[in-house]
Every structure is written in structure tokens, then in C-alpha cells.
């Protein structure tokens, strides 16, 4: 029976890695389901504050995003350290908010235009100045439904 003799007697058998792909696929599917593709590449810091009286945004209705915050570390040389507004992929000035909303509306079916909600993603350390200006611009262009997008958490500890 020498044909079937074990080569070695001692030593640990190698650990089977056959189930590793299964584990990784499981992780992969979890992330695919739980996340969404980034809408915009952020050039600003965007740590959202916390609040607990929040409502979910209706995904069936159109949503436009406006980001406000200080430029992130890579862009400080170009854009400075003051709060800036990001529309789509660019940092823009307050005057361009109206044009942005007009462009967002033009891309929508006409019956959906009045339901457009503007989601304001503002960094928690931003000052109110820029946001106030943006709100005035939104009022001028009659985009009145807004949502201060926040994380869920205890607001008082902000």
C-alpha cells in the first residue's frame, strides 16, 4: 500500500481558502445594495450636522443638490478658505444658483417642475452667510421646497 502513503505525517494542513470568494462577494453585494453611486465629486468639506426630527426625501420627486462648505485641503490653494458653493462638479458663485436651478428644471418633465426639492448639503462648520444668500436666490427663482439634509442623531450635541 505504499502508493497511498502520506508524504508527510507532521505539520498543519493548509487552510482552505475556497470560501474566501464567497465571503468577499457577500461583502460586495452588501455594499452594492446599501450605497448609491456618488452624484458629485465633492471639492469641499461636507460633514453634515445631525438632527432627529428628519423626514425622508421622496426619491420619486426630483431633487437638486447644493453643497456648501470650505474647500477641501487639495483646493485651498486655488479657492481659499472661505465657504464656497458647489453646483454639480464646480465651485460657483451665488449668482449662478438661479441659472443652476433653471438648468435643473429644463431637464425635467414639465409636470414635475413644481415638485423639485432642493437638498442643501451644508457643512456643519459653515457659517450662515453663504447659505442665507443661497436661500434668497432660491426664493427669487421660486424654488421654495428645500431640505436641510442632515444625518440622524442627537441635534443638541452638534
Amino acid at each position: 500500500m505504499s502508493k497511498f502513503k502520506k508524504k508527510k505525517d507532521g505539520g498543519l494542513p493548509p487552510i482552505s481558502t475556497a470560501s474566501l470568494p464567497d465571503i468577499v462577494f457577500m461583502l460586495l453585494f452588501f455594499f452594492m445594495v446599501a450605497t448609491v453611486i456618488k452624484e458629485d465629486n465633492l471639492k469641499i468639506q461636507n460633514q453634515l450636522p445631525k438632527a432627529n426630527q428628519i423626514e425622508k426625501l421622496d426619491k420619486k420627486k426630483p431633487i437638486s443638490y447644493i453643497y456648501i462648505g470650505k474647500p477641501s485641503a487639495n483646493y485651498i490653494d486655488t479657492y481659499g478658505t472661505e465657504d464656497r458653493i458647489q453646483l454639480n462638479d464646480k465651485l460657483q458663485s451665488v449668482e449662478q444658483v438661479q441659472a443652476f436651478i433653471a438648468a435643473e428644471r429644463a431637464a425635467l418633465a414639465e409636470e414635475l417642475v413644481p415638485t423639485l426639492t432642493v437638498s442643501l448639503k451644508v457643512d456643519r462648520d459653515a457659517k450662515m452667510g453663504v447659505l442665507t444668500d443661497v436661500k434668497q436666490e432660491l426664493r427669487k427663482t421660486n424654488a421654495l421646497k428645500i431640505n436641510y439634509t442632515t444625518k440622524k442623531g442627537d441635534a443638541v450635541s452638534n
Binding site: 423626514e55 437638498s119 457659517k127 450662515m128 452667510g129 436641510y148
Partner: protein, 212 residues
């Protein structure tokens, strides 16, 4: 010699492929944060056309945020600096006061009935003014606490008016917004939610930020 079985496919690189995909998804995606405080802005009107609305001073709960994130509360003829953690209780007390007499009397209010504070739920106005240098996080906290005070009252009234549903206003709103909810249930919920919003309106006014 026995018949050889088909050679096994080497699955060793499968893990690598899966890792690559996993890392790709980790980098390109974002956990969705699509919830927040919904508000409605007042329509834009040039200054000249603005009507002056007369509101009795006792019906106003005026909050002012300064550049140091301190909160000044002016109500019932008094001004004081308050802590953010007291805001919710103070706002609730103000809304629920019900100090009105005669036709202004508030049947639903359970407050102190202080004649110096608000008349009834439909008259009580909360106003908020902020400085341009106020921090956004403070502003959000204040907004959150004001909404919380309104929600507290709405929850109470909803439970009182529709005890059979065994849920409060916030839960009912969530159920109404949930796409899974049946259309008929939604219809009946909408009616009830609107009724409560009618009884406890959110009269919230924001002044434009000072210091230009």
C-alpha cells in the same frame, strides 16, 4: 486505470476578482443620506409690496442667534439668553400656553394660560433671526428643536383625536410617505394629517440675516 474526472477549475483568483470589484464599489459609492429637515421658503416679494401683518407681541416667540452661537429669546416682554437644551421645552410651553380669552380661547392647549404669553395654537408665531456668522450646526439644532416642539404638540393632538390608530403624528407621517403603504390607507392618513396640521399650524418666520 480509472477514468480521469474533468480537471478542477482553479478558483484561487476568484477572491482577487471579487476584492477588486468590492474596492471599486467602495470608492465610487456613498451611503445615501437623503433625509433631513424639510422647510418651505416664503415666496420672493420685492420690499415695496410687502404687506405689514400686525401680530401681537405676546404671540411672538422671537429667537436671535448671534455670531457666537448664543440664543436670545424675546417673548412675553422679556429677553434672555437661553441654553440650546432648554429651547424645546420653552418653545413647547409657549405654543401650548393658551392665554387667549373669549374667541381667542384655546381649547386644546394644556399650558399655563399665562395672559402675557401666546393666545392659542393658531396665533403663536416662532420667529428666527440669525447672524451671517452663526454656525450652520447651531442653526440646524435650533431648527430641529423648533420642529421637535411642534411635533410634540402634533403628536399629542393626533393621539387624542385618533386614539384607534395607536400611533403618533410623526409615525403616521412616516407611514404616509412609505411607498409600501396601501393607497386607501394613505388617503385616510392624509386626511387626518391635514386636519392636525390645520389645528397646529407651523407658523414659523425667518428674518433675513443681518450684517451685510
Amino acid at each position: 486505470m480509472a477514468k480521469r474526472s474533468a480537471p478542477e477549475v482553479n478558483a484561487g483568483s476568484m477572491a482577487d476578482i471579487a476584492f477588486l470589484l468590492l474596492i471599486f464599489f467602495l470608492v465610487t459609492t456613498d451611503i445615501a443620506t437623503d433625509s433631513g429637515l424639510s422647510r418651505k421658503l416664503p415666496p420672493w416679494e420685492p420690499d415695496a409690496e410687502q404687506e405689514k401683518v400686525q401680530i401681537k407681541e405676546k404671540n411672538i416667540f422671537a429667537l436671535t442667534l448671534n455670531s457666537n452661537n448664543q440664543i436670545l429669546l424675546t417673548s412675553a416682554g422679556d429677553s434672555e439668553v437661553i441654553a440650546i437644551k432648554d429651547l424645546r421645552a420653552r418653545a413647547f410651553e409657549f405654543l401650548d400656553n393658551g392665554g387667549g380669552q373669549g374667541e381667542d380661547a384655546c381649547k386644546r392647549c394644556k399650558g399655563n394660560r399665562d395672559p402675557k404669553s401666546s393666545d392659542n395654537l393658531k396665533k403663536a408665531v416662532i420667529s428666527l433671526a440669525n447672524d451671517r456668522l452663526t454656525d450652520y450646526k447651531t442653526y440646524i439644532t435650533v431648527q430641529n428643536e423648533i420642529i421637535a416642539a411642534y411635533n410634540d404638540i402634533r403628536n399629542r393632538e393626533f393621539k387624542k383625536d385618533y386614539p384607534k390608530l395607536e400611533m403618533n403624528f410623526v409615525e403616521a407621517t412616516e407611514m404616509y410617505q412609505d411607498p409600501v403603504t396601501d393607497v386607501k390607507v394613505k388617503e385616510s392618513l392624509k386626511e387626518k394629517l391635514e386636519a392636525i396640521k390645520e389645528v397646529v399650524p407651523q407658523l414659523f418666520s425667518e428674518a433675513e440675516a443681518k450684517r451685510d
